[in-house]
Assembly symmetry: D2
Homo-oligomer: 140 residues x 4
């Protein structure tokens, strides 16, 4: 399957840790959100680009597996990639690296759909503006 | 100054603690939000009652002082009161009690204003529905 | 597979909504956390019971599928069940119901492992206190 | 009063917005946290520097005033400054600017104290490592 890749460096907030001293597991979904946004800004298809074209793109599925903990003060790199699909779905995969320890902390994926901003109905086919954007990217 | 009082018991979520092992200071504003909502449900003037009457009531000022820490598993009671004012402001005061230790953990206050849902302009006078509600309460 | 069941009613916090007007997808993991905790308090095996026996039980895997949105002010019921396993894993399943609309909003699951509080090493076999607790439950 | 200044540019996360479409008021305390941390990294006195010297520095007081809303996609700049005090307190002031609109969105302040990591007792005098750090800064 063809993909588009991007790497996003993040800092852990103290408020993102929990009483075990590590990043609370649910906060990885915020790392994923950050990664999608920086990916989108880099490739010219960020959240507000969808919105300006008339679409929300809500998450309909998330998967998250933890391999190791991340402590406050450790550096994080999210390696994100977008899969090229025929269907009207946006599927990202993620690796969350603890770059302080050079250790893979988590992997995961998310699936988004296209929702019409006004009707909030789901689109069954990819919107044209998105297909045009896809056709211009250097998929690998 | 006349006031209306209510007590709200809450549980600490593990995700609300931080790497010091205690509730992260900013999460007390979520306790305040919970307390306002249960206060509002009890007295018949909750968030959606304002909204149904055409108003948002955003927070324009918050103050928060911490006296002691709250650990995960300890029980919390928020003692909330609403001040009676002539101006178009909604002012709540809060005491956050650690009932496991019978200890005052924090005190604080918030100020809200009335914003027209459509124009997002601030109201300079109290809306009539709110004055009517005020007139029916047993202020002490 | 045998299971233990519990239902947990929750309220949506305003701070849990996002700019689409609905509960932000990642906050469902907080609903899961609440459901596990109330399940644990009901059955006598909550977070602090694990801790008092010398174990952290971190989440190592989460899955989450969204079927419908939940708006602020709508009521939530989480139907949670624990699977009975031979291995040293704690696997919960969840259904998040929007009881205002009598609509299934999301389904999901989490997997936890046993970590020694001091060494932070993962246990390969179920701890004895946990097996004793399991043997007393009315699995269905 | 003498001060040390720093500016920190931030991005708003979608998860930080609420159903009014704007940044939820409590999330400004996360912007403050980010600002303190980048201030600390710049001046060589970040959270982990305190910790490595044997101190937690919990927030004991927060004040926050909102002047205008910040919508998702707008850029944020936090202008933070540290006040020079004789007492064993760390007092920061903050201005949160919406740089997309060149508009002041919020102002606030926080007070921290020094807590011994082991005893969790509050220090009544400034620790020596901190006074040495203070003496090397270019206060204005």
């Amino acid at each position: 399957m063809k993909k588009l890749f991007f790497d996003v460096a993040l800092k852990v907030r103290f408020s993102e840790t929990d009483a075990m001293g590590v990043v609370w597991h649910g906060n990885y979904l915020k790392f994923f959100e950050d990664a999608r946004e920086f990916f989108g800004l880099h490739y010219g298809m960020a959240y507000l680009d969808f919105y300006d074209n008339g679409y929300f793109t809500p998450i309909v599925k998330s998967e998250l597996q933890h391999k190791a903990s991340i402590y406050y003060g450790q550096d994080v790199l999210v390696k994100i990639n977008l899969e090229k699909h025929d269907s009207a779905k946006i599927i990202f995969n993620y690796e969350v690296w603890n770059t302080t320890l050079n250790e893979l902390a988590a992997v995961g994926s998310t699936m988004q759909v296209f929702l019409d901003v006004n009707s909030r109905e789901m689109e069954l086919a990819k919107p044209e503006f998105y297909e045009q954007w896809e056709s211009k990217q250097a998929w690998q």
